[in-house]
């Protein structure tokens, strides 16, 4: 059962081949057997999951089943879940039980999905390896000495290991796509504003976006049509009709114009990754697509601009953790300032402090124009690069990450870790959607092909990814880890 896609499992439930209780029980048992080693979950909600599975089975019998009825899913521990701890991978929120559900969580529940648990992540979504979690690193199921990527590393590893058929994550600079690439699964970052951010713990509010991680593009389509849409509780969510993504998967690739940004195939790209990505592009050509080179001339400025904008927004967003209203509080504060300072010194990890300090510094008097305004100007130039490219071509393709998954502990310097996001980060600055699709291996570690499309062109993006998965079987490969476990 753990090898099946979400769509196959939905069909199996509909045909009565198994019940949701059996399906969720199997997922919980697999987590129990395998997750000790992987560490992909922070919290497993067994009892609640089984009760919800029973409710889904009853709804199906009554002819009242939602589109995701009875399907087990995992949520990155950044999504607020009423009555269940929402830690965001931080000591600061280690005992925080949310009084409300995120909109995305509510929508999934209304569709009948069963939440199995909350997945591990880099603290406050700051990281590219999942090594910044208060709950310890996650391992990559393809190679236990490698990282799963980050920050949605737990979600990606859990899907890759077959613990759950799909999971939800968030992507601020690559945090869905890069772990999807490292773990050999499919991960979609929707257009900024497509999915409500209400109840999603904020990191950098002008960049954050929630989305699905699954085995196939078809499964991502199924999840996106459930979670997308306008929400009055998130003023940045966009009031725009949500297409039926599943119905639009079978588009022809004949005549599709693919642009290859020359900046995405330059220095620093691992040769094996490049070979796999170029092979994938040949598959598209054989399916009738036309390929040309394009340029995104401001690519080299994306990481510098991001490391001004994201920490600035983070330093503001994370000021809410004050030890007064919720979350960690230090013992025996002598005065209010001591309460704030010790609470935050104890509650935040190294990387989070680093970004709060950078953001506070760049926003402080005398530095604001040179850093923050400048970065926002460059952000417009970066977005314009994409708009210009999409005048010429329908989609852009390249590698998701410059290398396959690296070893645990290998990236010691923060700046070299930041450079991991070179091909993903500009996409968040521009607000366009992107997907990572399995496209082969470098040694024993998966390689991801990234496909990018204009704002709100998720239907096209998913269709383009789906057609590749009809012609190749990279998305069907499973790691040896856990293969013998039922």
């Amino acid at each position: 059962m753990h090898d099946k896609t979400l769509t196959e499992l939905a069909d199996g439930l509909e045909a009565g081949e198994f019940s949701s209780r059996e399906l969720c029980q199997a997922a919980l048992e697999r987590i129990e057997h395998l997750d000790g080693e992987l560490n992909s979950f922070i919290t497993v909600t067994s009892e609640q999951a089984l009760a919800n599975a029973d409710a889904a089975d009853a709804a199906r019998k009554a002819g009242d089943a939602g589109p995701l009825a009875g399907l087990p899913l995992a949520l990155k521990d950044i999504f607020c879940t009423q009555g269940v701890r929402t830690s965001c991978g931080s000591k600061m929120l280690d005992d925080f039980v949310s009084p409300y559900d995120a909109t995305l969580v509510e929508k999934l529940r209304q569709a009948g999905a069963v939440n199995i648990g909350k997945t591990n992540m880099d603290e406050f979504a700051m990281g590219s390896s999942n090594e910044n979690s208060f709950y310890g690193p996650v391992k990559n199921p393809w190679d236990l000495s490698a990282v799963p990527g980050g920050s949605s590393g737990g979600s990606a590893a859990a899907v890759a290991a077959g613990l759950v058929p799909a999971a939800l994550g968030t992507d601020t600079g690559g945090s869905i796509r890069q772990p999807a690439a490292f773990c050999g699964i499919t991960g979609l970052k929707p257009t900024y504003g497509r999915v409500s951010r209400y109840g999603m713990v904020a990191y950098a509010s002008s960049l954050d976006q929630g989305g699905p991680l699954a085995r196939t593009a078809a499964d991502c389509a199924l999840l996106l049509e459930t979670i997308a849409g306008h929400d009055v509780r998130d003023s940045t969510s966009v009031a725009r009709v949500v297409p039926n993504y599943t119905a639009e998967l079978d588009t022809s690739l004949s005549g599709l114009k693919i642009g290859l940004p020359k900046e995405y195939f330059g220095d620093g790209l691992d040769p094996e990754v490049e070979t796999a990505v170029r092979e994938a592009i040949k598959v598209y050509e054989s399916l009738g697509a036309k390929v040309c080179e394009v340029s995104l001339p401001h690519t080299h400025l994306a990481i510098p601009a991001y490391y001004v904008i994201a920490p600035a927004e983070a330093s503001s967003n994370l000021s809410r953790y004050d030890g007064v209203r919720f979350g960690h509080r230090c013992d025996d504060p002598t005065d209010l300032e001591d309460l704030y300072k010790r609470t935050r010194a104890e509650g935040f990890g190294e990387e989070v402090k680093r970004r709060i300090l950078i953001g506070t510094h760049t926003l402080s008097e005398g530095f604001f124009d040179a850093y923050y305004l400048k970065a926002q100007q460059v952000r417009r130039l970066i977005r314009q690069d994409f708009l210009d490219a999409f005048d010429e071509v329908d989609v852009l393709m390249g590698p998701t990450a410059p290398t396959p998954a690296f070893d645990l502990g290998a990236q010691k310097d923060p700046v070299s870790m930041y450079l991991q996001d070179i091909y993903t980060i500009a996409v968040n600055l521009a607000g366009i959607p992107g997907i990572s699709v399995p496209a082969g291996f470098a040694g024993n570690r998966p390689v991801g092909l990234q496909v990018l499309a204009p704002h709100f062109a998720e239907a096209q993006l998913l269709g383009v990814a789906h057609q590749f998965q009809q012609a190749t079987d990279w998305h069907l490969k499973r790691p040896a880890f856990g293969k013998e476990t039922a």
Binding site: L301, A305, I358, Q376, V378, G431
Partner: protein
């Protein structure tokens, strides 16, 4: 622009993150390298470019000025570290 020890302590104070002198020393190198990387922005001519704050250039939506939330104080205070009679407790601020 490099960052000095005093800048780190100043930022830490503004952000209300407790940092010892020694800990601040540890951050000087890291933060300087990050800012050095960020300094590539200074080489770009951005005269006349409007800063981009929202990727879709959207502005805040307006809604009628009506009460839409009801009081849920008890529920929201259930996750607070210390409350009494519906108030949050903090160390004495005014002597």
């Amino acid at each position: 622009m490099a960052i000095e020890h005093a800048d780190v302590l100043r930022a830490a104070h503004l952000a209300r993150v407790g940092l010892s002198e020694d800990e601040a020393t540890g951050y000087v190198d890291d933060l300087s390298r990050i800012l050095e990387m960020v300094d590539q922005l200074q080489a770009v001519d951005t005269r006349g470019v409007t800063p981009l704050a929202h990727p879709l250039d959207a502005t805040q939506r307006l809604r009628p000025d009506e009460v839409t939330e009801h009081s849920q104080r008890e529920r929201f205070q259930a996750c607070a570290p210390a409350t009494e009679d519906g108030l949050y407790l903090v160390p004495r601020v005014v002597e």
